[in-house]
Amino acid sequence: MTTTMEAPTTTTTLPERAADPGVEVRRTTGSMRRTDVFVALGAAWAALSLTALLFTRLTPFDGALGFVVVTFVLFVAIYGLLTGLDERGPTVRDRIAAVLVHGLAVLMLIALVVVVVFTFYRGLDALGHRNFYTQDMRDAGPLQPLSVGGIRHAVIGTLEQIGIALAFTVPMGVVAAVFLAELPGRFSRFVRTIVEAMTALPSVVAGLFIYSSVILLLNQWRESGRLPESLHWLAVGKSGFAASLAISVMMLPIVIRAADVVIRLVPGTLREASLALGGSQWRTVWHVVLPTARSGLMTAIILGTARGIGETSPVLLTSGVTAYTNANPLHEPQISLPLYVFTSVTRPDAGMIARGFGAAAVLMFLVLILFAIARVIGGKPAGQLGRGQRRRRAGRSYRDAVRFSRRERARLASAPPEPIRDTSDDTEVST
């Protein structure tokens, strides 16, 4: 293109501005239009009315569940039809998929809410009595009112059993996870495979193992004199200790696996930095890896605890059922909350069932508390500290600085300062 340059005549045209630009409205980038809302609302209303017509006038259908299901199916059909009037195939499929996904998610949420609310609602009868928390069941026969008897023995049993189980699983599980993550090799790979296999162990089989080994076999040995006198305490029979062993067998692989995942998430650069600064492997693990993974480890342990505290089947086989408060886990049966729930609700009388629901509500409450703690602790990713943690760290750092300067001052006071040598002479440059 050839143009002759007429320099002075070129003009720049500025876009005209309104006298008052006003407030600029931020545009939404969402793709939701008003039509979509109308279509959805219309389809919902049509589905609801059609279902109501079907259920009340046209067909002999009834039942709340059926009503909801038919409404939803009709809604999806009508919604698809309406969208299909002015959209093309892919869009219609997209809309229907979105409706289905939303519906399934809501269904799941409803299920969770129903389970939690139903437990607390049915448990209200028992939860309202103060004696429910302070008494055990020794005076409460099946026909006694709810103002007699409670779950003190079961709460004590649950806390003791889970405490003993944690005392076994936490140190062992965390050290084993450190082993798996920090000392890689053929052996640790084998251990990891076995641990992963053991997460498949059904909890009832864990209970059966403890039942047949600790309870049946050791008692047999004791009676036949094969167990040395000093080990007689091990043959505990049905007791809280046996139950906590069963819970430990069940929890150990869960804790190891979760802790292993968390420890492997610690960035390799942190480890290398520590090693490069001259830290030994042990110091690296203790001062770098474990503190970095601390919140994740706590979450792993607490979630494992929530799992162990609610598991009924291993306890059913190993702890025995009692109506008395028994604070000694090594001797005599000791009931726990899930087992109490199970034995109560399988009884025919309403009072016991109400107590069972009350205990289930307490159990749910314990799990909720544990869960909330786990989320508060584990909410932050590894390495990010809370305010208190930052303050403590600053305090530690300050004390270190004070210690260093004090030591330096003491060194200077005891020995006269050496003349500073010029270090550049020491290195010989080879030519």
Binding site: A98, R122, A200, P202, R264, T269, T312, V345
Partner: protein, 351 residues
Amino acid sequence: MVLVDEPRATVTPSTPDGPADRPRAVRTRLLASDHVFRTVARVAGSMVLVIMLLVGIFLSVQAWPAVRRAGWGFLTTQDWDTEGNHFGVAGVLVGTILIALVAITIALPLAIGAALYISEYAPRRIAPVLVNLVDLMAAVPSVVYGIWGFFLLQPHLLVVGNQGEGLPRWLTTYFGWIPLFAVDEYQPRDPEASASRLTSSTFIAGIVVAMMVTPIIASVMREVFAQAPPGEREGAYALGATKWGMIRSVVFPFGRGGMIGATMLGLGRALGETIGVVLIISIGFVIQPHILQNGGGSISSLIASRYQESTELGVAALMGAGLVLFGMTLVVNMLAGVIISRSRSGASSEA
């Protein structure tokens, strides 16, 4: 540019004065504290290994007398008479598998829906809350799901009133010609028909177990879906895909292995579930292929209800049943583990 005369212009750098380089042997000397640390860690690992192996070996050894007595009949006999030497797990084995299949059939769509919603549809702000809710659902004790199934689901939603109105009756009325949904000695259109034929069925137990395994499947699937690469997602959008089109062409193909693995993980859990099944089903030992009909059972509920058997053989037979169950869950879980780990890249974050 300088042109080199020689065609072979490769120059090997020479070390003029020093000796030729040899690879140095890297020698590490462990500190005493590291020796202790490694020993302690190894001992802990070995102890875990020993405990785990002990469980497996102990179960096998203890089960041996019963398995030897029953032979292959242990897997094919439909009875549990340990006094009369006529026992086997055929009935409860089939029951276990049926319950697990019902559970997975219900749990799978639910879990896919929930996982997709959390990873793709949910607003950014509430997604973490939903993740927590799903995890909470996994932490609800199984006995709570059990009493929910026994006191709410069965009498108020599924088998309502004397007539037993609800989904099972509807299914057997209209789909009773499918053997799976048939119910013996039950005439759905007969007003005198008792609802008790429809209670305590494999189907209801399966629903309860589905409630327990859905969150497990959903949380694994959510992680898998979230790992679908953003580049490909945006590519699909840029080519004009709808959200569902993007999910079908990017998220599902990338997450297929993880989805299968998560399902099998849930299946393994469903096979071993005990208390929910014990609360719902009254155990029977014959093969009960009609999932809507009263009766059935699973290996775990067999163990939970019969562990107080006084005879040594009885306990040994239960051990055998436990071993069969463990073997099943082990195979399913191992397969799940292999599939999930193949579908993920980079188990550790070595930066």
